[in-house]
Amino acid sequence: MLALQVLTNGLVLGCLYACIAAGFSLVWGVLNVINIMHGGFIVAGSYVAWLSYSRMGIDPWFTLFFVAPLFFGIGYLIQRGILNRVIAAPVLVTLTLTFGMDLILNNGMLIAFSADYRKLLLSPPLETLLLAGIVVPVDRLLAMVLALSLTLALYLILRHSRVGRAIIAVRMDRDASLLMGVDIKKIYSVAFGFGAAMAGCAGVLLALIFPISPLSAGAYLGKAFVVCVLGGLGSVPGAILGGLFLGVTESVGAVVFGPEHSVTLSFSLLIVFLILRPQGILGKKGYE
């Protein structure tokens, strides 16, 4: 029974990790930029959900509908105005640049909301299901389903829309897609916008489960790293698989080694994967 409960917890966590990582993976894969701000975007999304629920009484489910376009716009503008200027520069430059912007974002949130932990408490709270001896809180279940649907929506956009195909084309071969008439700078901005929107929506869903604080940005970013490397870069199915893998590993590890070693476990997994299989579970070798 314990095993099933642990597995369920892992899968719930895993779906949220997949949602966190999908946008990060898209930006990394297409733009070759590691967006350190991703964790900050997630926390910002959580704050929007918390504010709109506690001040205006808007349910988090509806918050998603305006968080997505809002964060898409912010991401688009950041890429268009700042990151596109240095997109061809070495890794160190883009990495340090997004780190600098993350410091600004984090400082802004600290001033606006202070470092106190906030919690979005639904009233009345949703009940807890008891399925065959396994405890499943309904809010977690809903967050999981929504996280998975959002990730699938991103997959469908990339797969079937015109702009999605253009993003994939740029990822496969930047120069060839340029020759085919793709406006690369615009596609970069759209991809970054999608990444930011996914982060904001993930933040809304996480606000249902975890306390909100600017300090958790780093932890979310760490999860995104690990999931990306586990699953394979720039692929949505990879993010889902990596997320589920990490979620289950973490909840099993919490039982076996104790919860205080969860970060050590996930980062050790990261280092092992980086060295033995840097292309990830689903990635293709040399496909950069």
Binding site: I82, L103, L105
Partner: protein, 319 residues
């Protein structure tokens, strides 16, 4: 490195050594930090500037050094023994990490080196019996000097002396076959391999050298502040600040790293004093402005800004 840069470094260090004569405890504190930051920046430059590998492991070395040295100091070892032993240990550890991690390139290496710091921090946090865990580690006052000002002076000169040792070794590396090999690796690693540079050995040695003095600075820092805790010494900002300093001074140059460190400290101190709530935001803004408008560091103020920007994109500049 040109003769002129060498003289500028000597002059800067000489000026710094006069600090205890003119300033009080505050000036000594700033001076000690200036030396420490310069050690971090110059060390990072060995792997990040010369070999071109974007390392985020500085915090790992610093924290490892502070804890290993702190535990030895708390156990009654003298500062000299603790510093040298920690330095040697970190060199070996960094060399071994280097052999494993430096097979990765670009983003993957950056993340891998970042992960090392995270793992070490969590391990330090979890090993409560040895390190005190989240409660931190207390390090007793050194028995050599008893007065507060005397101690401040003592640690200032120790840190300053370590900076000089660091500079001698790093400038030595720059002029040696190792430095030449590292610059080859930076420009084109496959080609360097082809012409007979043992790139794995060279990169790992560079990683070792980029760790050893940072760890020693960590030991001295631990002895100086008497209390360390994991989020303090494994702070990711210790990984990022040296990069900003090196970028500020111009990537790949030792003189640039020293000047960048001093300038960075001046800015940081100014911001801390006047805009306490905004200091990380201002640091972030500094990074953004620096990377967008001064990609070659302070040297960009010189002639033909755009031309140098283009040069810089194709390869790391040299002095």
């Amino acid at each position: 490195m040109s003769r002129k840069s060498l003289w500028i470094i000597v002059a800067l260090l000489g000026l710094l050594s006069l600090l205890p004569l003119v300033g009080g405890a505050y000036a000594l504190r700033i001076g000690t930090f200036a030396s420490m930051y310069a050690i971090l920046a110059v060390s990072w430059n060995v792997i990040g500037g010369m070999a071109g590998y974007p390392s985020f492991a500085t915090a790992a070395f610093f924290g490892l050094g502070a804890y290993a040295g702190g535990i030895m100091l708390a156990g009654g070892a003298s500062l000299a023994v603790a510093t040298v032993a920690t330095g040697l240990m970190t060199f070996v550890a960094a060399f071994i990490f280097g052999v494993i991690l430096l097979r990765l390139k670009g983003h993957y290496f950056a993340i891998g080196s970042l992960a090392v710091a995270e793992v070490l921090r969590e391990l330090t946090n979890a090993a409560t019996e040895l390190t005190g865990g989240g409660m931190g580690l207390n390090i007793p006052m050194s028995s050599v000097v008893k007065s507060v000002v005397g101690e401040a002076q003592f640690f200032f000169y120790i840190m300053w002396a370590l900076l000089i040792v660091t500079l001698i070794v790093v400038i030595g590396i720059e002029r040696s076959k190792l430095g030449f090999g590292l610059r080859c690796i930076c420009q084109n690693e496959s080609a360097a391999d082809m012409i007979g540079v043992n790139s794995t050995l060279y990169k790992s040695l560079a990683f070792g050298f980029s760790g050893v003095f940072v760890a020693m600075a960590g030991v001295i820092y631990a002895g100086w502040v008497h209390y360390i805790e994991p989020p303090d010494v494994y702070d990711i900002l210790y990984s990022v600040k040296p990069i900003v300093m090196a970028l500020l001074g111009g990537l790949g140059s030792t003189l640039g790293a020293v000047m960048g460190a001093f300038l960075f400290l001046a800015i940081e101190e100014f911001v801390w004093r006047n805009l306490l709530d905004l200091h990380t935001g201002v640091l972030g803004l500094l990074i953004v402005v620096l990377l967008l408008f001064l990609p070659k560091g302070l040297v960009s103020f010189g002639s033909s800004w755009l031309g140098k920007r283009l040069v810089w994109r194709n390869g790391v500049p040299r002095d």
